[in-house]
Structure formats: structure tokens, C-alpha cells
Amino acid sequence: MEVQRFGVKFFVADPPSVRLHDFIQIFHGWIQKQTVENHLLIDVHNYSHIHNGPGILLVAHEGNFSMDMADGLPGLLYCRKTPTTGTPVDHLETILKSALQACNLLEGEVRFRMDDFLLLANDRLNAPNDDECFSQLKPIVSDALERVFGHTKYTLTRHSENPKERLVVRVAGN
């Protein structure tokens, strides 16, 4: 399975604490200092008017970060756009680390759950949302999780079986 465009969403632990508009200022601040390593931060886009939309988006050359509101569940979403190097496990590791870096930068603003999050393969050509791809993706996810989080036990499930949607894996800590 050759997928480059992975994404990850870490849910906010306390959803009512999210004041979406605050992230406009926060993300502008990140751009001023170019705070996210290995990313060229470019612009902030306010999508708060869209129901369950991308919320507040921070556009970087390498990928987009957002305080995402999909399904009404706020969370830090990172979607990779440019290729990363190495194996699929390497890609996923890079992407997880980028997202975690953003979560760390938001410490003090919001807390994120590390025991329940989503990994998405944003590539319908190489990773359609079917059983076969899910089976192929599982070991890649497990290896990447082990590299990033150590020997924690996780359950991996397919988030939706709708073939039109992207292949999304729900990662739940045991």
C-alpha cells in the first residue's frame, strides 16, 4: 500500500471548552513565529460559518492544520499534502508527529485525548475504503503507533463502511 496523504485527528478532551474564534489569533501567532517545525506556515482561513466544517484552518505548504468541527466533535486535524520520505510507516510516523507537535503547542488552550483518535488515508486511489485496504493498513498503523507512542495497546476499527468516504481508522486505547 503506497499512501502518502495521511491525516490524523486528535479530539479535544473537553469540547465545550473550545472557543473557535480564539484559534484565529492563535494560528496567526504561529505564523508570526513560524512555530511548527518542518512546515512553512502560510495563512489562516476562518470557516467557522460552516456547520461541522473545518472550523479554523491553518494552511501550511506541507499540509493543513485545523481546529476541525467535523461530526460536531472538535479536534486538531492535520492533513498532509506534500509527500514525505520513506516507507508508509515512516509517512504515518511523520504525520503523527506533526499533529502531536501542534497539539503540544496548544497546551494551555485545550487538552486532547490520546486514547481515541482518527487516522485517515486521504487517497481514494491507493487506499479505497474497503476491507482489503483496511487489513493492509492495520499493520502499518500499528507499527507507526508503536514508534510514536511505544508499547501501548490499541484497538483499530474502520470508522465508516461507506465506500464513498475515505478510509478512516479509529484508534482506541485499551
Binding site: I24, I42, I50, H51, K81, K164, E165
Partner: protein, 756 residues
């Protein structure tokens, strides 16, 4: 690894396969420095690949101007960095989309953009923050569902728009849909529509009275009319030309009160020819057809077009589509059943603003109100499923940046509403004062001065809460906002219109909007508004309160808003706003010094140039770039051992290069190879023009030899030779073109585009 190209090659029309492969080659050529940036810019624009704010590599972050250090300094146009994210515009003729197309659009927004689809004021979709390297695959996926992005930007015929109610409207004379479709298809890539100095927009409307088609503000527009001839009803169009918004709006001029339907396409072609020939090319600010019509006068313009029409060789496509028009019919999915049964909470309000009962009893059009024209991929996919369940293929975008589902059986409306609410798309207020239209403005547009979307969002939020308590006369007013004078947000034709500008207070910039009152959306954009004065952005909501409040209080009986504005007059209106025009000192209230939704201190330092403003790309250069692309592809086939294909492409490249020169003297030359070679020989070889400075005549022999004696067998040697010869021939043609340009005899040039 599988590729979209392989996967979709059999699902795409061959023509689209070829076009997109060609674009991919042009990307490769530009990447390797073999294609000039100006020519590449116009090439990509003609495929809908547009630049975005900050793509010159500079951005003010509120404290200082940062250099955006992309890893490569390659450019995709003058002052436009390759790696900077851009916008992809997707043309949707008359706004008609099917559920399958909606699914694809949703997928593309997720995979290449930011999961948001934006509906424009001309029924297109736009995706933002797209990397140029992703665009060929994005286009292939669109092509596989029958959508092309060709000529979505650039100096070309843009999306052909039409009333979203066409075919179901009570007031229409007839359904303009099939005519809009035929016009879009006929002019797409038409050789006579390639040499414009600026874009060309066409619209169709089913009637004079209502607004939906907005013919009056278009370069060319047709209003459906009929007349009786020999006891038979005959269809035709009241044809207008030379309308347009922009900084200086022009009313379209009546070209013909009754243009018979069979004359629609040939007349459009003749108009295109005259515009291409006589329209301004150097000064882009005066290059729209409205300036040509104004300069010549409509009578002279009409005479030239009719003269041109007489010279045109008949084309079977002019009338070939008419039998389909007679048969054109949309198929509803469900039986017509009147509204009945339980109605969910909120339904009545939504029904009162978002439902239009069709002329076909038992059916209705439901408008999906999209805030600022945006919806997510997930909403789009769900909407596609709703269409599948309730209406079939009958979905359209609107120029008010909404989506309509047509042919909904009325009895299904409550269920449809429930579903829309579940998806977050059940907002009422379509077509009312809360349904604010805004261009992208400073969010993404390089020319944006003030935040049109930020202001629109603020106004929307404030008015939504009290929509149903507003006086009826105010409730149905329109608000339209542009980020600058270019008026993509159509502020001129709005009751309350605003366009972004800037003022310096002390030594700081303050975002402002010019207030334009009393424009008319009805009657096909029947009147343009009156500029009243410039007000700081942060005071605009108060402007709306004040003007609408006075209207409610002081209007005479059923006086319309336009009549009221006219009666009150500019001076008094200005007086009403005088104190709102003041800006508090920075130390007193800093909020005035930032724009809506953007905490950075306001600056106009981020303002970019409209793409290629001031650059002139000649038509011949453009064609020559295509010749180079063909020879490049020939080289790739040579490398892969496909000698026959290498030979064929190299030959086509030479024909294309020769054609580029011939067209400088004989614009409407046929493009079959015999004609091209013979014209080229007579005009450039026999006259020694090609050989004049660079011994080009020797290179012309390569073309003649290959044309007269195609190879019987394909070998590596032969193929390699022809590819090399083609390259040399193209160089000679370039040299000849440059020499002619220096002498001032190189002709027809294309001005690259400015505003979107």
C-alpha cells in the same frame, strides 16, 4: 503504483484525455525551464488553475512582511511561485450538476483542497489551496464525470450561466437550458474564441422581468422571446452585448430584438470574431467587449458583426443541436404529490423563503442556503444522496452562491427539510437580506483590498437572528459585497452594495467599504447603484441598520428601495452616514485598524497583481508553446521506443508551429495539414520571410519533406531525426515571430488575465 491516468483513461472522452495529458506535459516543460513563465501562466489559467493571495512569496503577518521561503524558486507565472497554493475553478455550465459529479467534487475538495467547496457568483465551483502538481489528476477525475475546467479562467469564454429556475419557472417564455448548454459546448475551445484581450461572459435568462440570468451585466446575453410566424410560434432571443460590471459598470446594449434560435450560435461566433479582431489587447483595463461596443457604438458594432456573419462558412453545429432542444425534458424522480402531513419545527419559515412552487403542479424547487457559498465535502456527498432519493439529476448552483434541488415532489418537502437540518443545511432566508453574496476578497484573492467575506459573515450573523421580525420591505433586499472595485461580488446590482477600499488615518491603513445604494437585481440586473461614500469596514453593519431603518420609516406607500434611494438623493444619504465615516484614533479604538475576522493590523501591502497584469502574450507565442509541448511529448515517446507516435507528434508540432505564423496573417485559416503547409509555403517560404535572418528556409524544408513523404516504417533513427528537425523548425518559427514583432508587424496578441 496505480495512477488516475491509467484508471480513468477509458472513462474520459478522448479529447479530454489529450487535453489533460497536454497540460501535464506543459507542467513538465515549465518545471524543466523549457516553457516561458508568461506563456505557462496563460496556459494554466485557461485550464482554470488560478493564483492565490501571497503566491508572490510575501505575506504581512501583522508585525512584518515575511518572505515565504518555499523550497523552490520556480515560478508558474510572473511573480507567482510554483509551490504556493492556488485556486482551481471548475466551470459548471448553467450550474447543472448531477449527484455523481457532486460526489467527485466532494472527493477532490477532500484530497486536494481543504474539504470545502465554494460556489461562485457565476455558478462555478472553486477549490482553494490546491497544489499545481495535483491539478492534472484533479482534472482527470472531473473529466471522468463529464466536467472540464477548460477556459474557466484566462481570456476566454467563461462559464455560460442561466437562471437556476429555467424550465420550471412560471414567468419564463421557454426553457433556456439547452441553448445555454449548446452555446457553452460550441464555444469551448472554438478557434474564433481564442484571441480575446479579456474574458467573455455569457448568460441566458428565461424572461425580462426577473433577475436570475442577469443578462444586463454580461458581455453577451440572451433573453428568451417568441414571435408568431405563419401561425407558428417561433423561438428566439433578445440579444444583448457589451454589458459588464468591473470598476465602471456598463449596461448591455440591445443587439437584436429577435434573433431566431438558429442564428444564436453563428451570431455568437461572429461576435467572438469581431471582439478578437478589434478588441483592445494592450490595455487590459479597456479590453472587455463593453469598451469596444462603447467605442464603436452599437450600430457600427452590429454592422461589423453582421458583415462577419456573411463571410462565415456554415457549420453544421449551428443548428445540429436544435432537434435535442425540442426533446429536452427533465425527468422527475417522484410523482407530483401536494404538500401534506406533519411539518417539522422550523419548516414553515424555511418553506416561506427557500421553496419555489414550480409551474409543474405538485413539484417545487428547494434552495439550499450556503453561508458565503461554502459547503463541506461531507455535506456535498450527503446532498448528492438526497438528490438521488428525491430529485434525480436535477441539481443546480445559483449566482447567489446557493444550490437548488429541482423537481422535489411537494409531499417530500418536510422530509427533505428534516434531512437538510440534520446536515446543517436547513437555514431559511434564501434570497433575503441575510443571504449575503460576497466574492473571496482578502481571504484568497490577490487583488482583494478589504475582507468581503469577513464583513458578509458579520452581517449574516447579525441579521439572521432577527430575519423574521424584519419589516417585509427590508427582508427581501439584497446585500452584495466585493473585496475591491472589480465587483466580482456584483455590488453594483444590489440594493445595498459594498466594495473594499482603504484609507490612511495618521500613518495607518484602515479597511473601508464604498457604499453603493439602489442597484437593481430584478429586471436582469436592471440598474446600477449610486456610490454614496466610503465608510470604515467596522461601521458597515451600522450603515445597514441606519439606511434600512429610514426606509421602513419614511417610504411612501409601496415605494421600492430603488425609488426611495433616488428620492432621498445622494447628498442626504451621505449626510445620514457622515458620522459613520469617521475613524477613531488608533489609541482610542484599535478595532477599526483590523478587518473583520482578521486580527492582523490592516495593510494593503499584501495586494498582488492580477495575474500577468501588464504582460502581453502573443497568440503566436501561445501556439508555439503548444508546438513545443508536442515535440516534448514526441521525445518522451521516442525514449519509450514508440517511434510511430514520436514521429506523429513531431509532425503535428511542426504543423502547429507553421499554423501559428500563418494565423498572424490569416486568422481564420483552416487547420488541416494540407492547408497549413500550403499557406505557410506561400506566405513565409516563397516570400523568404522565414529565411530572412536565420536561414529559416532550410528548416522549412523539414516540414515540407515530412508532409510530402510520411515514413513507411518507423525506426529509431528516423524518429530521432524528425524530433530533432521539429525542434529546429520551431526555433526558426520563434525567430521569425520575434523578428516580425521587432519590426512591429507581428500581429494579434493576447492579453493575459487580470481579475479572476
Amino acid at each position: 503504483m496505480p495512477t488516475w491516468k491509467e484508471k480513468l483513461s477509458i472513462t474520459m472522452e478522448p479529447q479530454l484525455v489529450e487535453e489533460i495529458d497536454a497540460f501535464e506535459s506543459q507542467i513538465a516543460l515549465r518545471r524543466s525551464g523549457k516553457l516561458d513563465e508568461k506563456i505557462f501562466a496563460e496556459t494554466r489559467l485557461r485550464r482554470g488553475v488560478y493564483g492565490q493571495r501571497y503566491d508572490n512569496g510575501h505575506r504581512n503577518d501583522g508585525v512584518r512582511t515575511q518572505e515565504l521561503n518555499f523550497s523552490s524558486d520556480l515560478t508558474k507565472g510572473p511573480d507567482t511561485l510554483w509551490d504556493a497554493p492556488g485556486m482551481q475553478r471548475i466551470k459548471i455550465p448553467f450550474g447543472g450538476v448531477t449527484p455523481d459529479q457532486m460526489d467527485t467534487l466532494a472527493d477532490l475538495a477532500e484530497e486536494y483542497s481543504d474539504s470545502v467547496l465554494h460556489v461562485t457568483t457565476r455558478q462555478d465551483f472553486q477549490l482553494h489551496y490546491v497544489h499545481i502538481d495535483d491539478t492534472p489528476n484533479l482534472m482527470r477525475r472531473l473529466a471522468a464525470v463529464g466536467i472540464t475546467t477548460r477556459e474557466a479562467c484566462g481570456n476566454s469564454v467563461r462559464n455560460v450561466t442561466a437562471c437556476p429556475l429555467a424550465g420550471v419557472c412560471h414567468g419564463e417564455v421557454f426553457d433556456v437550458t439547452p441553448y445555454a448548454r449548446a452555446t457553452a459546448k460550441f464555444l469551448l475551445g472554438h478557434p474564433d474564441a481564442q484571441g480575446f484581450g479579456r474574458k467573455f461572459k455569457i448568460a441566458f435568462s428565461g424572461c425580462r422581468e426577473r433577475a436570475c440570468g442577469l443578462v444586463n451585466m454580461h458581455d453577451m446575453g440572451g433573453i428568451a422571446v417568441t414571435r408568431t410566424e405563419n401561425g407558428m410560434e417561433k423561438r428566439g432571443f433578445e440579444l444583448y452585448v457589451g454589458g459588464g460590471l468591473g470598476a465602471v459598470p456598463h449596461d448591455a446594449k440591445l443587439f437584436e430584438p429577435f434573433l431566431p434560435e438558429e442564428e444564436l450560435l453563428p451570431t455568437a461566433q461572429a461576435v467572438a470574431r469581431v471582439f478578437a479582431r478589434l478588441g483592445e489587447k494592450k490595455n487590459r483595463a479597456a479590453a472587455r467587449i463593453k469598451f469596444l461596443v462603447a467605442k464603436l457604438g452599437i450600430e457600427e458594432f452590429r454592422r461589423l458583426v453582421l458583415e462577419e456573419r456573411k463571410t462565415m462558412v456554415p457549420d453544421p453545429r449551428w443548428t445540429g443541436y436544435l432537434p435535442e432542444v425540442a426533446e429536452f425534458k427533465e425527468n422527475p424522480l417522484k410523482e407530483p404529490v401536494p404538500l401534506n402531513g406533519q411539518r417539522p419545527e422550523g419548516f414553515e419559515k424555511w418553506y416561506s423563503t427557500n421553496v419555489y412552487r414550480q409551474k409543474q403542479a405538485g413539484y417545487a424547487v428547494a434552495t439550499i442556503t450556503l453561508p458565503l457559498g461554502d459547503l463541506t465535502s461531507s455535506q456535498m456527498r450527503q446532498l448528492a444522496d438526497l438528490a438521488r432519493s428525491f430529485t434525480g439529476d436535477n441539481v443546480r448552483t445559483t449566482v447567489e452562491q446557493n444550490i437548488v434541488l429541482r423537481w422535489v415532489s411537494e409531499a417530500d418537502l418536510p422530509e427533505l427539510y428534516r434531512e437538510l437540518v440534520r446536515m446543517g443545511l436547513g437555514e431559511p432566508g434564501a434570497g433575503t437580506i441575510v443571504d449575503v453574496t460576497a466574492c473571496p476578497g482578502t481571504d484568497t484573492c490577490k487583488l482583494g483590498i478589504a475582507s468581503s467575506r469577513g464583513l458578509a459573515a458579520e452581517i449574516r450573523t447579525r441579521l439572521a437572528a432577527k430575519l423574521f421580525t424584519l419589516d417585509e420591505a427590508v427582508k427581501n433586499l439584497h446585500i452584495k459585497i466585493s473585496g475591491c472595485f472589480n465587483s466580482c461580488g456584483q455590488h453594483h446590482i444590489s440594493d445595498l452594495g459594498f466594495y473594499g477600499t482603504s484609507r490612511t488615518i495618521g500613518n495607518r491603513k484602515v479597511p473601508h467599504f464604498q457604499v453603493v445604494l439602489g442597484g437593481k437585481w430584478e429586471d436582469n440586473a436592471g440598474a446600477y447603484g449610486l456610490a454614496i461614500g466610503t465608510v470604515p469596514s467596522k461601521s458597515i453593519p451600522e450603515v445597514i441598520e441606519r439606511i434600512t431603518g429610514r426606509y421602513v420609516r419614511d417610504r411612501n406607500g409601496n415605494e421600492t428601495f430603488q425609488e426611495f434611494i433616488k428620492r432621498i438623493g445622494k447628498q442626504e444619504l451621505r449626510g445620514m452616514l457622515e458620522n459613520l465615516m469617521q475613524v477613531p484614533a488608533y489609541e482610542k479604538d484599535r478595532s477599526f485598524y483590523s478587518d473583520w475576522g482578521d486580527p492582523r493590523e490592516f495593510t494593503i501591502g499584501d495586494l498582488g497583481m492580477g495575474e500577468c497584469a501588464g504582460e502581453v502574450v502573443s497568440a503566436a507565442q501561445f501556439d508555439l508553446a503548444d508546438a513545443e509541448r508536442l515535440v516534448f511529448e514526441g521525445q518522451l515517446h521516442l525514449d519509450s521506443g514508440d517511434y510511430a507516435q514520436a514521429d506523429a507528434l513531431a509532425y503535428r508540432a511542426m504543423i502547429q508551429a507553421a499554423l501559428s505564423l500563418v494565423k498572424t496573417q490569416f486568422q481564420s485559416v483552416r487547420n488541416d495539414s494540407d492547408t497549413v503547409v500550403s499557406e505557410f509555403r506561400a506566405r513565409f517560404y516563397d516570400t523568404n520571410i522565414l529565411g530572412d535572418r536565420y536561414a529559416g528556409n532550410k528548416f522549412a524544408q523539414y516540414l515540407f519533406r515530412r508532409h510530402d513523404s510520411p515514413p513507411h516504417e518507423h525506426t529509431l533513427d528516423r524518429a530521432r531525426r524528425i524530433v530533432e528537425e521539429a525542434q529546429l523548425f520551431i526555433e526558426a518559427v520563434y525567430a521569425c515571430h520575434d523578428s516580425l514583432t521587432e519590426r512591429g508587424s507581428a500581429p494579434i496578441s493576447i492579453k493575459a488575465v487580470g481579475k479572476p
